[in-house]
Amino acid sequence: MAISTVDIAVARRPSLRARISELLDREEWLGPIFVSPALVLLLLLVAYPFCMALYFSVSNAFIGRPSHLIGLRNFINLWQSDAFRQTFQNAFVFCGAAVAAKLVLGISLALLLDQQLWFKRLIRGAVLLPWVIPTALSTLGWWWMFNSLYSVVNWTGLALGIMDPPGPNWLGQKYYAMAAVIIVNIWRGLPFFAITILAGLVAIPKELYEAAEADGAGPVARFWYVTLPLLKGVLAIVVLFSTIFTFSEFNIVFVLTHGGPINSTHLFATLARQVGLETGRIGEGAAISLYLFPVLMIVVWAQLRFVRKQAY
């Protein structure tokens, strides 16, 4: 009897490495894998604190004590507080003045930086300095400059004869104090505006300016009919970000004035800290910090809609 051998093809399982490699080639796996670290970070660092803040704002939470839900009572009670009403007003004055000034000055600075300047790169780098230095540190410098005893601003003003002795009480009088915090915020935020707008300016095709010039357009007309319309998208994004950052400003006010004099420079963040942490009423503090959330949501939605319209 003849015996024949039959080769049995054994289906070998692919190695682990091969299986991982195959899995990573599939988009439906690779995408979520790449996104998940960012998602976890967002959930941990943004979503969780936000949800906690929402819970606190509708509770009577007090540091280290049991709390229970009280609905919207915190939000309603805040209107009875003189300090809160003052803060509400301060926030709009501060944000309106600072963002408007940063927008105008930012466009001007960007136009200047777009020119053929000597040491162009050095100057562009230097402009970013206020943005790069930690705010608390740079604001300490400003605090020193505005300090009633050592004010270099007043010393210079008096030496030049443009101020009457003893000079303005920058941090002790409400209008001067508000002016001081706005000035420092403009100084700090201007580079963000200037550099972002500059990026927008560089992207505008030169042919458009040449065509406008050929049609007899002067510098003002070129700015108005070419530059500004093409910058609208960039400006909308910059203003959107700046509005959010400025409304939630903390460092500058905390270091310069601590919210004083008589609460005249308190913003939502600084008042929330005072009420929520220094006096322990976390529920009320969370309500203060979330008070403008619905308004800001609408602003963000409107501006993003505007940007999308510009893009398509």
Binding site: G64, S148, L149, N169, G172, G259, L277, R281
Partner: protein
């Protein structure tokens, strides 16, 4: 003998190690070395911080317990403590001032045993310390020292203008007018800081006013006596001070006196101590006198400071050991107190005539306590979290600031009353 590969060795030992850690529930390093941490303020007498660090090194050497000491600025303490309590994590020991033990009552370990031992050695804790650290009969923090406010003045200027040392707040107004004319105004802060409250309290009390009544519930700020106090502030602000006081922080009055501008301030002796240590020209010209009085007596602010232990601490026993080490031996406690150069004084009755007060004749005012009533913020209301909230919300400083910047006295008082009532109701 069977050989073992490097990989197998690592796998086995790591596995066994991790199993041990999970079974014990404690990391090996912590199991071997006890370590505690202490969060305290940036002392206005910096040499005391240095001494504390020195003592901590000796503590580790003597007991084998490591201690890490962190310092933060006084205005940030409340927020930092709140975040530690809320997250139930942070330091083991915390330095507490004023009524903080009342605010965090449920979060602090009972330290009555340590206070009992200290009181046996040094006598009873001062009443201000007891009022603030003994919460409903239980010591929630151990009193360690207290800082008394006095009047600090430029002796040379007073002599030059033949000014009388102020015995009352009205006398200060008379002297202050002359000082301002000489270019050396009175420096009493009127801003959102604790020094403002430390001066406003004694002035208010000496006119017979109060914030909250003895029952701890009834707001009494809107009174004829408070109106008198506010009127006094108004004329002081107008005739004796400069508007800069509206922007001052806790250090500004010290700096103004040290730099030669202010002629009179109300402060603990720290302004003089720092001037002396930094060898400033003003050091020789600064002296102190008893705090001024008013129609209803002579009152002064006393700020006791304590050490507490968070209940969430996993190192309560070693933390208690550190407190005993720092305060429980007379020699070491003396050494600690001496380092503050009379800025921070012992807080126990038998140590009141402490040698530190005799190290400099300019500390005589601190010994001259006859007729002075010492209180903590909020007196005569019993200490409570509500009183601490009124303090931390800077209602009284803002009431005065409003009045001196144009709001009528009546409206300022009504505003303060409304704000305080909201705190009491909350």
């Amino acid at each position: 003998m069977a050989s073992i590969t490097r990989r197998r060795f690592l796998t086995t030992t790591t596995g066994a190690g991790l199993a041990g850690i999970f079974a014990a529930g404690i990391a090996p390093a912590r199991g071997q070395q006890r370590e505690i941490s202490y969060l305290c303020w940036n002392n206005f007498a910096p040499l005391m911080d240095k001494k504390l660090d020195e003592i901590a090194v000796r503590f580790t050497k003597d007991t084998g317990i490591k201690i890490k000491i962190d310092h933060i600025a006084a205005p940030q303490q409340a927020a930092k403590y709140a975040s530690e309590v809320q997250s139930q994590s942070g330091h083991d020991l915390v330095e507490m001032r004023m009524h903080f033990p009342w605010l965090y009552e449920g979060q602090l370990v009972d330290v009555s045993d340590i206070v009992g031992e200290l009181e046996k050695k040094y006598g009873k804790a001062l009443s201000s310390a007891g009022e603030t650290a003994r919460v409903r009969g239980t010591w929630r923090a151990v009193p360690q020292y207290h800082g008394m406010f006095v009047a600090a003045y430029r002796e040379d200027l007073f002599k030059k203008a033949s000014l009388k040392i102020p015995d009352t707040w009205e006398d200060l107004y008379v002297a202050g007018k002359e000082l301002k004319k000489m270019g050396h105004p009175v420096g009493i802060p009127i801003s959102q800081n604790y020094d403002t409250i430390s001066t406003a309290g004694p002035v208010l009390w000496s006119f017979g006013g109060l914030e909250v009544d003895k029952d701890g519930k009834t707001v009494k700020i809107n009174s004829e006596q408070t109106a008198q106090m506010v009127e006094w502030y108004k004329k002081m602000f107008r005739d004796c001070m400069e508007p800069e006081v509206l922007s001052w922080d806790d250090a500004s009055n010290n700096q103004s006196l040290q730099q030669g501008k202010a002629g009179w301030i109300h402060n603990p002796v720290s302004a003089y101590i720092v001037a002396k240590q930094m060898k400033l020209p003003t050091a020789d010209t600064i002296n102190h006198h008893k705090t001024p009085g008013g129609p209803k007596g002579r009152h002064e602010t006393d700020v006791p400071r304590h050490i507490g232990i968070w209940r969430f601490s996993k190192n309560i026993a070693p933390a208690k050991e550190f407190i005993r080490y720092l305060l429980g031996t007379r020699e070491r406690y003396d050494e600690y107190i001496m380092s503050a150069d009379a800025f921070n004084l012992p807080v126990y009755e038998n140590l009141q005539n402490h040698p530190v007060l005799k190290t400099d004749p300019k500390y005589a005012a601190l010994l001259d306590t006859k007729g002075v009533q010492y209180h903590c913020y909020g007196w005569p209301a019993p200490p409570s979290d509500k009183v601490q909230l009124i303090t931390n919300s800077f209602i009284m400083p803002n009431m005065i600031a409003k009045a001196v910047t144009g709001t009528s006295t009546k409206d300022s008082l009504a505003w303060a009353e409304n704000e305080m009532k909201k705190v009491m109701a909350g």
